[in-house]
C-alpha cells in the first residue's frame, strides 16, 4: 500500500474540472485508490469517484490523503500527487 498526504491548492478545490481529472486519472490504474479529506474529520475514507468526491467536499486549502493498493500502486500515487500539486495542469499555464 502506498499513500500520500497533500494540500489542495487549486482555487475551486476538488470540484468541477479538478474532480473530473482526478477521477479519470485514478480510473486508469489497476490499483484500488481511495481518498480521505483530513480537513473534514467527520468524512470517511472512500474510493475515488465523482459522487464520493462530492461527499467529502474538498475545498481550496484542505488536506487530503490518497491511498493506492495494487500492482501499480507506486505509479498511481506518484501520478495523482503530481496532478494535485500542479493544480490539475493549470499551474504550468501561469508560469
Amino acid at each position: 500500500m502506498q499513500e500520500v498526504t497533500l494540500i489542495v491548492t487549486h482555487p475551486v478545490g476538488l470540484h468541477a474540472r479538478p474532480a473530473k481529472e482526478l477521477f479519470q486519472q485514478a480510473r486508469a490504474f489497476k490499483s484500488k485508490i481511495t481518498i480521505q479529506n483530513l480537513s473534514r474529520p467527520e468524512t470517511k475514507e472512500l474510493p475515488v469517484s465523482p459522487f464520493n468526491l462530492l461527499q467529502i467536499g474538498v475545498k481550496h486549502g484542505h488536506i487530503i490523503r490518497l491511498r493506492a493498493e495494487g500492482e501499480d500502486e507506486t505509479e498511481a500515487i506518484a501520478a495523482l500527487a503530481a496532478l494535485v500539486q500542479n493544480d490539475f495542469g493549470e499551474r504550468t499555464e501561469a508560469s
Binding site: P50, G57, A94, S95
Partner: protein, 559 residues
C-alpha cells in the same frame, strides 16, 4: 376570483398564459409500469449501464450546446451531472436494488433518491444544491430507458409550468425548444439552479411560492410577473389589460434593445460615449456582454475577500481575474483594488475600532497597512494581464502621494514576478477613482501620476455633502445629483480632458436615465453601470445629439 401568490425570487419578464402543473415522478410513465418483471438481473444491469452512458453523452452534448451559446456556467452543471450519471456508487446501488427483486425503473429512482439523501444530510449549502443534481441524473437516465416519459413535450405556447421544482435539464430543454413559457416553482430560492438558469436564459420565473400553487387546475388563466415575483391566478379583466399593455411595451423595447446590442454607445450625431458595466464577480462579465457592454468600468474585487476566514491566495485571485478578462475577449476591464474599511471588518485583517470608519482606514489606506495583501492582489492582476486589456484602479485617493506609493508597489510586484520567472505584463495602466472632493479639485495635478480616472459618484456626493449614504432621510434631502456634486464632476472632467486622460463615471448617477446623458454631455468618455441598465441607456443616448446633452449639462451646472 383573482388570487395572488408571492415568491421569494425569480427571473424578470411577464408571461400571460395558462397553468400546466408538472408533478414529475420517476414511476408515472406508462412504459415503466407496463414493463414485465425482468428474470435476468445481469441483463437488466447491462441495459442500465448502456442507459448510463447514453444519459452521460446526452448531458455532455447539452453542456456543449450551452458552451457554444456562451452559457459556460450553466454548461458546468451538466458536465458535473454527466460525470455523476456513470458514477460507480449509482451502479452499485442500482445493482443491489435489482438483486433485491425491484424492477429497473424503481431501482433507478431508489438509488438516485438514496444518493440525494446522502448529500442533503451533509448540511452544507453547496452540497444540498448538488444533491438536487443526483435526482436530475436519475431522471436523465430514466428518460433514456423510457423515452416517452417526458411530459414537457407538446406543450402549447404561453404555458406557465407550475412544479415543485425543475431540474436544470428541464429548464434548458424548454428554453431550447423556444417555447414562450414561464416557471412557477413551489420550492427553490433566488440563487437556486432554476432561478439562475431562468435569468440567464431570459425566461420569466417566480420561485418559492409555496405548496398551495401545486393544487391549481391545468389551463387556469395566470399571469407570471417575474419583476415583482408575483403570480396572479384568474386575473380580473382590468389586471389583465394592464399586464397586456406592459407586455406589449416590454416586447417592443426588448426587440429594439436587441438590435442595439452590438452597436457602440453614441449620441444621434455619432459622438461616442462608451457604455461599460460594473460587475462584482467573473460570472457577471457574461451578463455584461449579453447586455452589450463595451468594457468593464468597475470590477469590484471584494467578493474574493468577504465571507472567509483567510485572505484569498494570489492563484485564486489570478483565476478570477483571468476568467473575467477571457469573457471580455480583449475589451478593457478596470479592476479596482480591495475597497473595504472598518465598517466591514474582515477576520484576517485587523482594523482598530474607529469612531468614523468612512473617514478612516479604508480602501487604499487599508492596503498601506497590509502590503502583503496588496502585493498578492497586484501580482495576480499583472499575471492575468496577459489574457486581456486590464487597467488597475485605486480607491480612496486624496493626495498625489497615494498614487506614488501605489506606483512603487506595482513596480515591486512586477519585479517580484520577474525575479521568479512568472509570466506577466508590467505595462498596465494605473488610475484612480475620484471619490474624495480632494481628488476632484486636483485632477490636473493627479493627472501627472494617474493614467486614467473614474468618478465614484456615490462616495463623492457623500463626502461633498457630508451626508451618510446609509441615512435615508438625509439622503433624500441632499440628493446625489445636486449642484455642488455636478460642479465637482464637471471640474474633474475638464481637467482630465485637458491632460488628455480617460475619464469615466462608475457611480450610480451614470446609470440613471436622465443623468447619464447629462454626464456624457459634460464630456466623460465612458459611463459604467449595472449591465441591465446599459440597453435603455444606449437607446436614450441615440435619441439625443451631443449638443443637446451639452446644453442640458451647462443648464444644470448654472444652478
Amino acid at each position: 376570483m383573482q388570487q395572488e401568490y408571492h415568491g421569494v425570487g425569480g427571473a424578470p419578464g411577464i408571461l400571460i398564459g395558462r397553468v400546466f402543473v408538472h408533478l414529475p415522478s420517476f414511476t408515472t410513465t406508462p412504459a415503466a409500469h407496463a414493463e414485465p418483471p425482468d428474470a435476468d438481473p445481469a441483463a437488466t444491469l447491462a441495459r442500465f449501464g448502456q442507459a448510463q452512458s447514453t444519459a452521460a453523452r446526452n448531458l455532455e452534448q447539452l453542456a456543449e450546446r450551452l458552451h457554444a451559446g456562451g452559457h459556460s456556467d450553466e454548461a458546468g452543471i451538466f458536465e458535473a451531472q454527466a460525470m455523476l450519471a456513470e458514477d460507480p456508487t449509482l451502479t452499485e446501488l442500482v445493482q443491489a436494488q435489482l438483486e433485491a427483486g425491484q424492477p429497473l425503473a424503481a431501482a433507478v429512482q431508489t438509488a438516485a433518491t438514496q444518493m440525494h439523501a446522502m448529500l442533503a444530510a451533509l448540511d452544507d449549502p453547496y452540497l444540498s444544491e448538488r444533491a438536487a443534481d443526483m435526482l436530475a441524473v436519475g431522471k436523465a437516465i430514466h428518460a433514456v430507458l423510457y423515452p416517452s416519459g417526458s411530459p414537457l413535450h407538446d406543450l402549447p405556447p404561453d404555458t406557465v409550468i407550475v412544479a415543485p421544482d425543475l431540474t436544470p435539464a428541464e429548464t434548458t430543454e424548454l428554453y431550447e425548444r423556444k417555447l414562450a413559457v414561464a416557471f412557477v416553482t413551489a420550492h427553490g430560492g433566488n440563487t437556486g439552479h432554476t432561478a439562475i438558469l431562468a435569468r440567464s436564459l431570459g425566461l420569466p420565473a417566480v420561485v418559492g411560492v409555496g405548496e398551495a400553487v401545486l393544487q391549481l387546475a391545468n389551463d387556469t388563466p395566470v399571469i407570471v410577473d417575474g419583476h415583482t415575483h408575483t403570480v396572479i391566478v384568474n386575473p380580473a379583466p382590468a389586471t389583465l389589460a394592464t399586464y397586456q399593455q406592459q407586455r406589449t411595451n416590454q416586447a417592443a423595447a426588448q426587440a429594439y434593445y436587441a438590435t442595439l446590442r452590438d452597436l457602440p454607445g453614441q449620441f444621434a450625431d455619432g459622438h461616442r460615449v462608451g457604455l461599460w458595466a460594473n460587475i462584482g464577480r467573473p460570472d457577471d462579465a457574461a451578463q455584461a456582454r449579453a447586455h452589450g457592454a463595451e468594457g468593464i468600468g468597475l470590477f469590484r474585487t471584494e467578493f474574493l475577500f468577504l465571507e472567509r476566514t483567510t485572505a484569498p491566495s494570489e492563484d485564486e485571485q489570478y483565476a478570477a481575474y483571468r476568467e473575467t478578462l477571457q469573457i471580455m475577449a480583449g475589451r478593457t476591464v478596470i479592476i479596482r483594488t480591495l475597497d473595504i474599511g472598518g465598517d466591514k471588518p474582515l477576520p484576517y485583517l485587523h482594523v482598530a475600532p474607529e469612531a468614523n470608519p468612512f473617514l478612516g482606514v479604508r480602501g487604499l489606506r487599508l492596503c498601506m497597512q497590509h502590503t502583503d495583501l496588496f502585493q498578492a492582489q497586484l501580482r495576480a492582476i499583472l499575471r492575468a494581464a496577459q489574457h486581456g486589456d486590464v487597467w488597475i484602479m485605486l480607491p480612496m485617493v486624496a493626495l498625489p502621494s497615494d498614487i506614488t506609493w501605489a506606483r512603487e508597489q506595482l513596480q515591486q510586484a512586477a519585479a517580484t514576478l520577474q525575479a521568479q520567472g512568472v509570466a506577466h505584463r508590467a505595462d498596465v495602466p494605473l488610475g484612480i477613482m475620484i471619490e474624495t472632493p480632494a481628488a476632484a479639485v486636483t485632477v490636473d495635478v493627479l493627472a501627472r501620476a494617474s493614467d486614467f480616472f473614474s468618478i465614484g459618484t456615490n462616495d463623492l456626493s457623500q463626502y461633498t455633502l457630508a451626508v451618510d449614504r446609509g441615512q435615508a432621510e438625509l439622503s433624500a434631502r441632499y440628493p446625489h445629483d445636486t449642484l455642488p456634486v455636478l460642479r465637482l464632476i464637471q471640474q474633474a472632467v475638464q481637467a482630465a480632458r485637458q491632460a488628455g486622460k480617460h475619464i469615466g463615471v462608475c457611480g450610480e448617477l451614470g446609470g440613471v436615465p436622465e443623468l447619464g446623458p447629462l454626464l456624457a454631455g459634460m464630456g466623460v468618455h465612458e459611463l459604467s453601470m449595472s449591465p441591465a441598465l446599459i440597453p435603455p441607456m444606449k437607446a436614450r443616448l441615440r435619441e439625443l445629439t451631443y449638443a443637446e446633452a451639452h446644453a442640458a449639462a451647462l443648464h444644470a451646472l448654472a444652478g
